[in-house]
Amino acid sequence: MGEKVKIPEGIQLLRENIVSKANLFGLPVREKVSWTKGLKLNDGGQTILFTGCGYEFLGAARSMTSAIRKMELVGVERGTRLARAIGKLGFNLPGIYARLSAGKGGGELLRAAVRVLQTLGVEFSYLGEEEPCCGGPLYFLGFQKDFVEKARKTFCLLKKRGVRRMIVIVPSCTYTLKELYPHFVEGFDIEVKSILEVLSERMTPMKLPEPIVAAYHDPCLLSRYLGLREEPRRILEMVENLELREPEWTRKEWSTCCGGGGGFEVVLPKLSSLLAQRRAEELLELKPQVIVTSCPGCLLQLEEGLRRTRAEGVKVVDLVQILEKAQKER
C-alpha cells in the first residue's frame, strides 16, 4: 500500500473523547448526573439502570451536531481542528457555539424513564458519576483494541459494584452490553435488558388525557440489531387514547435509518441531515401529532428532519415521555 490511509478526523475525535474523557462528547462527568436532582435513586442494588451518554448529554449532542452542520460550510476537517485548538476539550462545542446546558432535554427523558419504572414497581439503583461509558462507538468505528480495553474496565467496575442485572436505556449501549460484551469480555455474566423489554413485561393499561395520533419510528439498533420490534408496539397499544400509525413499507425490520448511524453525522453532516428529512417525511405522511421513538440519536435526527420539513404541530418524543404523561393522568 503506497500512501497511508487516513480515516475521517471527526471519527478520530469521537474516539479521543471516549478514551480520554470517558464519554462520547468529551464533557466533564459532573454534567452527567445533573438530571438526577430531586429524584429518589438508590445506589447499592444488584440491578442498575444504565443511562449511557446519549440521553445524559442530549443537549450537548444537539449543539454538537448543529455546530458541525454549520461547520460543513467551512469544511469539517478545518472546523473540528479549530474546535480542538480552542479548548482541548474534544467536542465540547456547546460552550463555544450554543451555550446550551448539557442536561437540557435529555434529563427530562431520563427523569421520565425513572418515574415510569418506579411506578411500575421496577426496583433498580443508579451508579451516578461512577457509571462508565460502554465504549460501543469505539467498536462501531473500528477502534476494536480501544473498545476491548474499555469494555474490560467497564466490566471490572460493574463487578466491583456488585451489579448482576442491568436495565439499559440507549439502544447502542444495550446492543454493546448485551451482544458485544459476552463476545469480547471474558467471564461477562451480567444480565442485560433493554428498557423496552422491562416495560413490556411490567406494563399495565394506561391512558392519555386526550386522544393523540402517534407514528412510531423503529431505531435500527432496536428493530434490526436487537430484534425488539414487538415490545414497543405492545407497550404503546396498552395506552388508551393513543392511535398508533405505521408506514406501509418502512416499519419494523424495514424501518429507514434516521441518518445518524455510526458517527455518520460527523463525517457527512449535510447528508445526515438530508436523510433525517427523508425519514421525517416518511413518517409525516401518516399525519401524526407526535413521532415516538426510543433512541437519543434518532430523537435528535428526527428533530432535525422536522425542522427541515418545516412541519408544524408535530413533535418528536421518547416513548417513556408518552408513558410518563399517561401515568400521571391515570
Binding site: M1, V5, E9, L141, G142, C220, L268, L274
Partner: protein
Amino acid sequence: MSFFREYRGKLMKAAGNERIRLALSRAIASYRANTDRALSQFPHTLALAEEVRKIKERSIGQMEELTEQAAQAIRANKGKVFIARTSGEALEIIGDIVGKGKLIVNAKSMTGEEVGLREYLEGKGNEVYETDLGEFIVQKLGSKPMHILAPAIHVPKEDVAKLLTRLTGEKVPPDIAQEVAVVRKFLREKYFRADVGISGANVVAADTGTLFLIENEGNARLATGLPPIHIALVGMEKVVPTFQDACKVAEVTWRYANYTVPTYVNLISGPSKTGDIEKVTTYGAHGPRDFYVIFLDGGRVDLAKQELFRQALYCLRCGGCLYECPVFAFTAGYFGDKYFAGIGTIWTAFVTGDLGRAAPLAYTCLGCGRCRERCPMRIDVPSMIIELRRLLVESTLPAKELRD
C-alpha cells in the same frame, strides 16, 4: 485526506441532485411493490434462497477447484478457457483475442466494468457498443453506471431524448417507447456487423460448463449469438458445482433482481455447431464459431480465504440491497467505486486490493442493516463494514498518528 475530500465532493453533488432523488424514489417504490408481489406469487423463493446460500457457501469454499472443473467442461465442449489472476491479465488475454480495428457489441457485465474492459478495447482502436439500453445511455452520456442492474437509473426520459436526438441527428421526443425503438434501430445492424460479442455470466455450472445469462431485453442473446466470436468474462465466484445448482441460483437472482420471471435465460456451453451434413461436427453454424471464457480471480481467491469477508462472494448481484440503502437513495452509485453501497465497499477493498480506496466508503455506510434484511443470501454487510474499519484503523495507522 484529499481522496476523501474529492469523493465527498462528488457524493454531495449527487445528494443535491433532485433528478437522481426523484428517479430513485420511483425506482425504490416500484422495486418494493414488485418484489413483494413476486415473492407472494412464488413463495418457494424464500426456502430456495436458503438452499442457494448453502450452495454458495460450499462453492466459495472450493472456488478454484470448481473453476478448474468448469474450464475442463467448457474445453470438452470445444470452448477455449483462460484463468486470469489479475484484471490486467484479463485485459491482455481479451485484447489478444480481439486485436484492433474490430467492431464489438457488449452485453452488460459488471465484471467488464470492474476491469475497465470497454475503455481498454477502445484504447486499442476498436469500436465498442454497449447494447444493454441502460449501459448504452450511460456510455453515450460519458457517465458511469449508477446501479448494477439499472445503470441509467439516474437519467430521466427527457435527458434520454436529448441524447438520442444528438446521436441520430433526428428529433427524438421524450417518449419512452419511441426512445427504445430508436436505440433498437441504431444497434440492430451493429450486431450483424460485429466481429466480437462480449458478455459476462450470472452463474456458471461446473459440471456442464454452462454459462447462464439472465435478461429481458434480448440484447445478450443477440450479442452472444450473432457475431462469429463470443468472449465471456466471468468472476470465479460465479461457478457452482452442478447445472441443477445453477438453475436454483439463477431463479433466486432474478426474483430478487425485480424480474419476477425474466424474458430470456441464455444457456451457453460452447461454440455453435452442427452435424447435419454427413454427421461431421462443424463449428460456427449460426452462432459463434469461437467461444472463449475468461475466469477472473482479481482478488477473489484471497477474499475466499477470509473468515468474515468471504461472504461478500456469495453476492448474486441482484441489486436488491441498493434499493434498501438510505444513502444510495440520495447518491446512487456515487456511494461506491466499481461496485456500490455497503457490499460494494467490501468488493472495492478486496478487488482493487487498495484499502485506501474503500476507506471513505467504509465511513459512508450507516451500518443500519436494512440491506441485510433484503439480501437473499443474508450477507452481513454491517459486520463486514465494522471489520473493514478495524483493518483501516489497525493495519494502516500507528495509534499515535491518529492524534496528529
